[in-house]
Subunit: 329 residues, 2 copies
């Protein structure tokens, strides 16, 4: 729309008002009003994404919009929260075009509908820098029921949902890694898709809330995020690496080069859930996850603080990782 | 801190955890939990600020932090809401330095304390672009009591708080306008300060909630924002320009060049409140504003839709403005 300036109000009315939920007043106000469910607590999370850092500037606008919302929904899922809605701040570089913004809004609207998380408000500004987005997502849990990161205790079983490492391998493939380009088409597609589009585990939110003692989403790599959760909880952990759940595509990558195992376990963007579950609740947790249709692998156990976080290989020997997690700085 | 990388967790623990409120879990989690007040509705607002667009990159970090929070608090005040807390997304350019971030956090923390609006969470990322901030502020009103923008009715009295145009004149001065540089020191200081540091009218929130039918904060210029509120309400308005409240410094500027009147009335960053008040509530509104110590000038009246928004000069003749409001695009 460069050259044909649209006022901020027109832009909002055209692209974003159709996505507005109850309490957003069709985005005709500066603020939204949300009536909280009875006896709830409001769970709040906020993630920012920058073109060239968290996604590729030439990713489809549809995928960029979905990713910005989904990484926040992943946090809500880990906390056991039901989405209430979200706010979006969008800093647009000069030269944005109407079809780009229309596709962005379409993707965002479809996800808002599919995940029952309506747009409540936000802000649209121009930037001389790269496209930058920030989403604040609101969810609700019964009072006091938010699943904390720092509440794991020695003896708890450790679980991770889905498969680990696909997105990190997808990113490597996206960057042109020749070893991965030799994988079969279906595997390549799977890895690329997992990098492009997180799949927030909202289906698992209720199981997390009902049965997990501690939880977080895995966004910066399993090894680093697990260490983070144990540090916050004042615990150690013992993880059996052979139990780390890998997709067929990831196994294919490891077949091409075993060094990809480190990429899979320390790379970011999994958006799976990590849970610490008291031993007496493990069976119920597993049943609830199965009921929700979410695979959950038992990968280890929480240990006492002094133990550190140990990763045990298939040969029974401890191993370390050069880089624990994606570093933002 | 360039050259001595700090992990995101260390950065958060060092600079932002001391600002965290109840429910933010010392920022050791990905999410915050807020227990809403009884029978309330949660009022949500989100404003983004980009260096070089919404502030000068070389503004003091203290002032940048305060502005980012205060523009959101201004929205809460206009909606009649009491602050509950805020989330901050901070996209930092490479090469940020520890003293800069320490000063930023100090200013933010002082405002969070002074306005009783604690930090609840957020995200810190790096950006190859300019410093970019986004704040989501949460407030509360009794259920259904949020002051809407679109609820004005013909016959309502129109009020604006404080003085108008100081920030826009301060920006012109900041850009080196020679006519303004000739003003006395005290006037120049006043204008520059009003541009640098918004003063959110939280003291007026209760009066707005109790007595205003419609309201918004004036952030993009009185002329444009008033037209916006009337458009949203499906009304016209008649404003007497002689009643627009101007500071002594602004009057000094107008003395230097009458053309500054347009700058004052159409420039942004006032962060005063605009209210439409039913005639039978005007006296109570004025008394409550006086009680709160917030000057509120009656500038006109809401009219029927077909009337448009008329600005009447001291000579009794209608006048128009070339640019109604700050345009974001």
């Amino acid at each position: 729309m460069s050259g044909a300036p649209l006022s901020e109000d027109d832009l909002i009315a055209r692209y974003f008002a159709p996505l507005a939920g109850e309490g957003a007043f069709a985005l005709k106000d500066d603020a939204a009003a949300v009536v909280p469910p009875l006896d709830c607590e409001i769970v709040l999370t906020k993630d920012a994404l920058v073109a060239g850092v968290h996604f590729f500037a030439d990713d489809s606008p549809d995928a960029i919009a979905r990713k910005a919302l989904r990484v926040n929904l992943s946090d809500l899922a880990a906390k056991g929260a039901t989405p209430l809605g979200f706010l979006l701040a969008l800093a647009l570089p000069a030269g944005w075009e109407a079809p780009w913004l229309a596709a962005f809004a379409r993707g965002l609207g479809e996800d808002a509908r599919d995940y029952a998380c309506p747009l409540l408000g936000g802000d649209t500004v121009k930037t001389p820098g790269p496209l930058t987005l920030s989403v604040t997502a609101l969810g609700a849990t019964p009072r006091g029921a938010m699943v904390k990161r720092f509440a794991a205790r020695p003896g708890d079983a450790l679980y991770v949902t889905g498969t680990i490492g696909d997105a990190a391998l997808g990113l490597a493939l996206r960057k042109g890694d020749a070893r991965l380009e030799a994988l079969p088409q279906a595997g390549r597609d799977h890895l690329l898709d997992r990098y492009l589009l997180p799949r927030p585990r909202l289906a698992a939110a209720e199981a997390m809330r009902a049965h997990a003692r501690a939880g977080m989403d895995v966004s910066d790599g399993l090894v680093g995020d697990l260490a983070k959760m144990m540090r916050a909880s004042g615990c150690g952990a013992r993880v059996e690496l052979a139990r780390a759940p890998l997709s067929d595509a990831a196994r294919g990558a490891l077949g091409a080069d075993p060094a990809f195992f480190d990429v899979a376990l320390t790379g970011g963007d999994d958006y799976e859930l990590l849970a610490a579950v008291a031993p007496e609740k493990s069976a119920a947790f597993e049943a609830a996850m199965a009921e929700a249709g979410v695979p959950a692998a038992r990968i280890g156990v929480v240990t006492a603080d002094g133990q550190g976080v140990e990763f045990i290989g298939a040969d029974g020997r401890a191993r370390t990782f050069a880089h624990g997690a994606y570093r933002h700085f």
